[in-house]
């Protein structure tokens, strides 16, 4: 089998994920921080569920046991200039 990419934004391969799980990283948070999965422009929307499934298979967990990292704003990239010119209601 050729190279299988699981995180398109950060170019992370299936092999890299498997290796990290073997090394003992058994938490999506740790995989994210070690490999950079989910930190690119899509912020994990394409890859995290796939990686969760790989982690479950490799580590012998039930997929429902895998905790997903928190999804945070923005839903899609927004230029800073748009934010800078937005009306800020005083808190």
């Amino acid at each position: 089998m050729g190279k299988v990419i699981v995180c398109f934004c950060e170019d992370v391969t299936l092999e890299e994920v498997r290796r990290a799980v073997k090394e003992g990283y058994r938490d999506l948070e740790h995989l994210k921080r070690l490999l950079g999965i989910g930190t690119g422009p899509c912020q994990g929307k394409q890859c995290l569920v796939t990686v969760a499934k790989i982690l479950a298979e490799e580590a012998g967990f039930d997929p429902s046991e895998i905790r997903l990292p928190t999804f945070r704003p923005p839903a899609r990239p927004v230029p800073l200039g748009v934010l800078a010119h937005a009306e800020l209601e005083e808190e």
Partner: protein, 384 residues
């Protein structure tokens, strides 16, 4: 894994501070268990801006920070794991002459303490060196280029791996519920997996939650969980080398090692709360401040925001050492927003105190007793 329930030391909190203390204790031959409620690094140690400086506005903090920064420089080599430290520098931008004056007087203090000096840059030099800055309203800057940034995840992993190598048990997803005190001595930590017993001491390195745990042993520590937010953009070619600090509104921007622009700003919503909930006001405020300072940022795409804590004390300095009220109970918390950079020195000094009974003079001013005794550490210059 076969794990023992008893060891010389139990450390509560698997952040960078708990791991650094564990590593140094293990190096001195002690047995250590670290209990972490979630995953290693899940507190502020994975939520910080990853900057390290020696220049603080009082002697005590500057000395501790300089000792730590020197250790940060060589940490990767010592731990055998690349911590990705780079001397990118700090650039403070001033909008008032009196702040520039204050900085000049503080430079004397740093010189006396042997801390590498930065220098004042006038507006012309700022324009030449940093063409991306909008200098409107700016009277000058201070560039300290021996300061820098690390990769927080790499540093946490470096300590964690070394802890494991030295036989430290790092238990993730185990919450410390209560400190057991017997005849005035802290002897154990109650957890859902049973009582963990400490023969020598229990160390609370649980970030702002340290206060809650200390209370279970009858100790009151003035540490507030102030929520602090940060945000990043898409990666760009590295242009903004130093950390650029807008002292007018207390905001900053810089590029991470992979080129993302990381921004933060003080906001009225930096309030005590246990919640990591982000606010919609924060990105607007940080973007407004830093697009004004660096106009070209307007075109850069924002990708993510998150929140963490500044475990804040009344004098904005950490709480380090044994508590007076209970024997065998020590704390390392209250870092008030600069604990990551202090972890290398704090871990070493705490281990010396615990295992050798030696209170390092650089750490001594930060004793937990200072709040009751009214010996707060004074901030000589407050900017922003």
């Amino acid at each position: 894994m076969q794990s023992s329930r008893r060891s010389d030391y139990i450390i509560v909190g698997g952040g960078v501070v708990g791991l650094s203390i564990a590593y140094h204790l293990a190096r001195l031959g002690a047995s250590v268990i670290v209990v972490e409620r979630r995953y290693v690094g899940s507190g502020s140690s994975t939520r910080n801006a990853a900057n390290a400086r020696a220049h603080f506005f009082n002697r005590e903090a500057s000395l501790l920070a300089w000792e730590s920064l020197k250790r940060m420089y060589r940490l990767g080599r010592v731990l055998g794991y690349n911590t990705l430290f780079v001397r990118r520098g700090y650039l403070w931008l001033f909008y008032r002459e009196e702040h520039l004056e204050g900085m000049r007087s503080y430079m004397k203090t740093w010189r006396e303490l042997g801390i590498p000096e930065g220098r004042i840059l006038d507006v012309d030099e700022l324009a030449r060196r940093y063409p991306f800055l909008n200098l409107k309203g700016i009277v000058g800057g201070y560039l300290a280029d021996t300061n820098g940034r690390y990769h927080h995840d790499a540093v946490v992993r470096a300590y964690w791996k070394n802890c494991i190598k030295l036989g430290v048990q790092v238990l993730e997803y185990v919450e410390a519920e209560k400190i057991t005190v017997k005849s005035g001595r802290a002897v154990g930590v109650e957890t859902p997996v049973g009582l963990l017993e400490a023969d020598k001491a229990i160390i609370l390195a649980a970030g702002p939650w340290t206060r809650i745990l200390a209370k279970t042993a009858g100790v009151d520590l003035p540490i507030e969980p102030i929520r602090k937010e940060a945000m990043v953009t898409e990666p760009l070619k590295i242009t903004i080398r130093p950390l650029v600090i807008n002292t007018k509104v207390n905001a900053y921007a810089q590029q991470t090692l992979r080129g993302e622009v990381l921004l933060s700003s003080a906001t009225p919503l930096d309030v005590p709360t246990w919640s990591y909930q982000h606010t919609y006001q924060f990105p607007l405020r940080a973007a407004k401040a830093m697009v004004e300072t660096i106009p070209a940022l307007a075109a850069v795409n924002w990708l993510r925001q998150w929140a963490g804590h500044y475990a804040t004390t009344p004098d904005h300095n950490p709480v380090l050492g044994y508590v007076d009220e209970v024997e065998g109970l020590a704390v390392a918390s209250g870092f008030s927003g600069h604990g990551f950079m202090l972890a290398p020195a704090v871990g070493e000094y705490m281990a010396l105190l615990l295992e050798k009974g030696y209170l390092h003079p650089v750490m001594a001013p930060f004793s937990p007793g200072r709040f009751r005794e009214g010996r707060l550490i004074k901030e000589d210059l407050v900017i922003g």
